[in-house]
Amino acid sequence: MIRWEWIPANLGQLFAALVDHLILTGIAVGVGFAISLALAIVVHRWRSLYAPIAGTAGILYTIPSLALFAFLVPFTGLSLLTAEIGLVSYTLLILLRNIVAGLDSVSPEVQEAAEGMGYTAGQRFLRVELPLATPLIVAGLRIATVTTIGLVMVTALIGEGGLGQVMLRGFNFRNYAAVYAGAVATVLLAIVVDLALVALGRLATPWARARGA
């Protein structure tokens, strides 16, 4: 028995959950990106640190999400912080790898031209390397964001979860309309956010579209 009429009656609650979901994702990807960018700069400068840093991010990535949250709860409680620590740590591997790959993709002759013309190291990074790494960075952001949108669901178990909350409550009260609504809304959110990132990426890289005379 699915009470579909639950959905129109609870649109406000669904929308609030959706916004919540988006915020949880935004914080996770935003903080994850900031940390990854800082790590990528370090790695770019001191290449030998890449293996240990990527290795650590890789280990974080392999920890099952439920286990990680359960592990954190005694320290940080059933809180937003607990949720975000977990979510952020899952973005690191993807974002770090893509930012580093993006920086590596800048051709040696472009680097040499920039250096030879008198760009300082900082100018070279901000004006040449980072812009040219954008396509790969955006690719990384897309994967990290879509993954995080899925993972936010799990944080419902520690009291967060956005649309995950809606689904969890649906299970507990055998309200399958809520379960379906939560699932569909999550999928739609993932698709819309992904498309938005694609569009942003295209706006940020006008040169990549200009091919052929």
């Binding site: 002759e109 040499e112 013309m117």
Partner: protein, 389 residues
């Protein structure tokens, strides 16, 4: 010439410059061994040699992309190691083979790279960009807003040269700048660059592995051999006429006589005078002048002294007037800037003995004959006094 581009140039001096990549082995590729040479202000010095001879290393030591192991490089007498590296690099134009244009910036932005780094106002950056694009033969309105990926290899090379000129540097470093384009485009870029340099008179260090390019582009040529040893340094004519070693002789090639022909221009020869006549001239007077000059052919020219064709004196009537129709065969037309190699080639192609030299308006200036060229070759192949490099 452009208002902001000045004929500013500096002297570049290498003093016992050595670069070792491996402390034990002297001959690692790219090593430079006790290089001393001076490039006078406003000259093009070409560093040429086989791969691994250290020519690119030598170039990159000037803008400190590579630091020497020992020795000094001086610009206008000042040791470059005492200068701020960023400021030094911004005062030196740098052009590389793969061009290294910034793919994410438009052509206009690429050319204005240095003005932007130097913090010029935006409108001045743009004006400078447009000016430089026009200077290298790219119409600003067509190219300014394109991206490098939308340009051909030759166009990209020109943008690379324009970008290097943006801050009006007294020195330009060019590392195989025309190496990545096909021979026809290369030839055109070389000619354009030489014409540009006539106006700019920068001090240019130019690296190539192609001896023909070195001879064509260089006021001075430094031939280097593996181990970073300077095998010979001097004007191209001297290197062709008097190779300092077995290595240099082999490197410049067995056809160095022909190469010397490409170094000399028609204007440097003492042209033979032509006996000219106009349609309507008195035939007997023409016969008399021809006899005085001792030549059996008269060159018929129009009212502005432009050649119409030759008349054999046997075909000139004893009396009456010359008719334009009497002119039969014509000859290849040369300018004073034609190289002897091209002149010779045109004579051979046309199967004639004589070519006509005309000025920019097509007026006859004189004649070049096959004999004239062979006489020049004979004279030039005699040993000349040359100061040891």
């Amino acid at each position: 010439m452009t208002p902001e581009a000045t004929r500013r140039a500096s002297t570049v001096e290498f003093r016992h410059v050595t670069k070792r990549y491996d402390a034990r082995a002297k001959d690692t590729p790219g090593a430079v061994n006790d290089l001393s040479l001076t490039v006078p202000a406003g000259k093009i010095c070409v560093l040429v040699g086989p791969s691994g001879c250290g020519k690119t290393t030598s170039l990159k030591m000037v803008n400190r992309l590579i630091e020497p192991t020992s020795g000094q490089i001086l610009i206008d007498g000042v040791d470059i190691m005492t200068r701020d590296v960023t400021e030094l690099r911004r005062s030196i134009g740098y052009v590389i083979q793969q061009v290294g244009l910034f793919p994410h910036q438009t052509i206009g932005e690429n050319v204005a790279t240095l003005p932007r780094l130097l913090g010029w106002p935006r409108d001045r950056q743009r004006a400078k960009g447009d000016e430089l694009l026009a200077l290298v033969g790219l119409e600003p309105d067509r190219y300014r807003d394109r991206y490098p990926s939308q340009l051909s290899g030759g166009e990209r090379q020109r943008v690379g040269v324009a970008r290097a000129l943006a801050a009006d540097p007294p020195i330009m470093l060019m590392d195989e700048p025309f190496g990545a384009v096909d021979p026809i485009v290369r030839e055109r870029l070389q000619n354009e660059f030489l014409r540009l340099q006539e106006g700019l008179a920068k001090t240019i260090l130019f690296v190539t592995h192609d001896i023909d390019e070195a001879i064509k582009m260089g006021d001075l040529v430094a031939v280097m051999q593996v181990g970073g040893i300077l095998a010979q340094f001097g004007p191209p004519a001297e290197i062709l006429a008097q190779p300092a070693s077995e290595f240099v002789a082999r490197f410049v090639g067995a056809d160095r006589g022909l190469k010397r022909l490409s170094l000399t221009r028609v204007g440097e020869l003492e042209l033979r005078p032509a006996v000219t006549a106009r349609p309507g001239d008195d035939a007997s007077d023409v016969r008399r002048r021809s006899a005085e000059a001792g030549t059996p052919y008269v060159l018929l020219v129009d009212e502005r002294d432009r050649p119409i064709g030759w008349i054999a004196i046997a075909d000139v009537p004893a009396t009456g007037r010359l008719a334009a129709e009497a002119a039969s065969a014509t000859s290849p037309l040369l300018s004073r800037r034609t190289t002897l190699k091209d002149a010779l080639s045109m004579l051979l192609d046309a199967d004639v003995q004589t070519a006509i030299v005309v000025d920019g308006n097509g007026r006859v200036e004189g004649l070049v004959t096959l004999d004239l060229i062979t006489d020049w070759m004979r004279a030039a192949s005699r040993p000349v006094e040359v100061a040891a490099g």
